[in-house]
């Protein structure tokens, strides 16, 4: 199958930094695939997402290649791929009504007139399960909870039916119940639309519960890439074993005795 996205020896060095933030990373993403990129702070996982999205800060040096074989051209942000970040407040305009923000994405990337874009926005808010979408269209971002704002940001990101959604720590600031709902939403959207997903997270269990494959980043390098279950059951890289070893799971033995001392 033709890859959706193909990275070859991708490296990024930020201004005034001697060491690269991303060091010769090569990988493929298939259409419809859910790929998790995991690692700790400073591993390069967010740099990888920013490089893919063309959002690196001015002065960052990029080498290597990003190609989109299934498109046969370079990708357009918003149209071919969408992005959601940890803080949805930062991607939503506080003084624009929700309907306008989601409709704007549809209008810009699909060339719809405002009326059709508005109808699509209403449908999208329903798809991301915002309660009472008609009312939500006329409301402002601050009137929603953090989890609902993230759903709205997702609605705007998928408005143009992108082939890929990049989610950078998109559930990290949410409580576990809301996180589980957003994960279920990602799963449903990918299944329904054949959309691919890049899930960037520090949580290996979250990655294992959603992704088809997991890429492990450490000190700017890709240290292991394997199907999710295989990576969890039979990790090959020392660092992957370390991450699995330090993960705090519900099945772990408590660090304290069971009785009050």
């Amino acid at each position: 199958m033709t890859a959706l996205l193909h990275l070859t020896e991708l490296s990024v060095t930020y201004p005034r930094q001697a060491e690269p933030a991303l060091d010769a990373v090569s990988l493929d993403i298939a259409p419809g695939e859910k790929l998790a990129i995991i690692g700790e702070s400073g591993s390069g996982k967010s740099t990888l997402a920013l490089a893919l999205a063309g959002l690196l800060p001015r002065g960052a040096r990029l080498s290597g290649n990003i190609t989109w074989p299934s498109l046969g051209r370079s990708a357009r942000a918003g149209a071919d791929f969408g992005m959601v970040f940890q803080d949805p407040g930062a991607s939503l305009n506080p003084v624009l009504r929700i309907g306008e923000q989601v409709a704007e994405a549809a209008q810009r990337h699909l060339g719809l007139d405002w009326e059709k874009a508005g109808i699509l926005a209403l449908e999208l808010l329903g798809r991301v399960r915002i309660p009472d979408p008609e009312l939500a269209m006329r409301a402002y971002p601050h009137q929603f909870s953090g989890g609902q704002r993230q759903r709205i940001a997702i609605a705007a990101a998928i408005a143009a039916r992108p082939r890929l959604l990049i989610a950078d720590e998109a559930t990290s600031a949410l409580d576990v119940l809301v996180q589980a709902e957003i994960v279920a939403l990602f799963r449903d959207l990918c299944a329904a639309d054949g959309m691919a997903l890049i899930l960037i997270t520090h949580d290996i269990a979250l990655a294992a519960s959603l992704a088809d494959r997991i890429a492990v980043m450490h000190q700017a390098r890709l240290v292991e890439l394997a199907p999710a279950l295989q990576l969890v059951e039979t990790p090959q890289a020392d660092y992957t074993r370390h991450l699995l070893g330090t993960h705090i799971d519900l099945t772990d033995t408590p660090r304290i005795g069971r009785t009050v001392p």
Binding site: E40, S41, S145, G146, G147, L174, D175, V176, L177, V178, Q179, A180, V183, R187, H202, D203, I204, A205, L206, A208, S209, L210, V232, E233, H242, L243, L244, T246, H247, I248, D249, L250, D252, P254, R255, I256, R258, T259, V260, P261
Partner: protein
Amino acid sequence: MKEGLATDGAEPLLVANSISRRFISGGRRVTALDDVSITLSAGETLGLLGPSGSGKSTLARVITRLIEPDAGEVSFAGQDWLGLKGSALRRQRRLMQMVFQDPLGAFNPRASVLSAITDPLRIHRLAPRGQWRMRANALLDRVQLPASLLDRGIGEISGGQRQRVALARALACEPRLIVLDEAVSALDVSIRGQILDLLVELQRQDGLAYLFVSHDLAVVKAVAHRVAIMDAGRIVETGPTGRVIAQPSSPMARALIAAVPRLHQERPR
């Protein structure tokens, strides 16, 4: 109220009884805490769990006297804690310390590690100036940081080191209770485990009590003897951590357990 507490004879360190607190939000009255009671003994960790908006942080803030409740009593270290005022409150306050999710927000960003740790010694007059550096060294040692960090800026050290400094500053007050509000949530996973081990070790040494506020059940399970599950301003379930996880009786406890991502599981396709 004294009878029926989950302690064996000894007076609990902390008893919060029938705490209620309402806020006005957007013209509506929101009940943040509705008749909430907890107890905590010396050497014990109580995990306070619940989703966003369930009232767990509000309860922590009432107990630490950052906000006043509309109703209820708190007794701490044998005193009427909510009745303490002025200089009496200032004298006793050191006994209950708080560590937050983002230690950078809790420090003057331009302070040195030394001044961050020794501020309480000065404020509470716990040691003469000539001893501050020595005391700071000893505190750094307790949180397993090298003395070489003392003169570094609080903004120059890593997030894990900063959280250890926040603990060292709390320990400088010689507290009996530390309220930890999502204190390990922002840390990388490998650092998180080290901080949890440190908390358990400090408790073993000093008989510290912890009120451990978190939405992460796996982390709570690692360190808490008992848990209290909060939902919409009420405590809906409480009990020994292992028992609550193995046999949850409330819908909220069941939902929190089900929502924890599992490494090994049958996954929906």
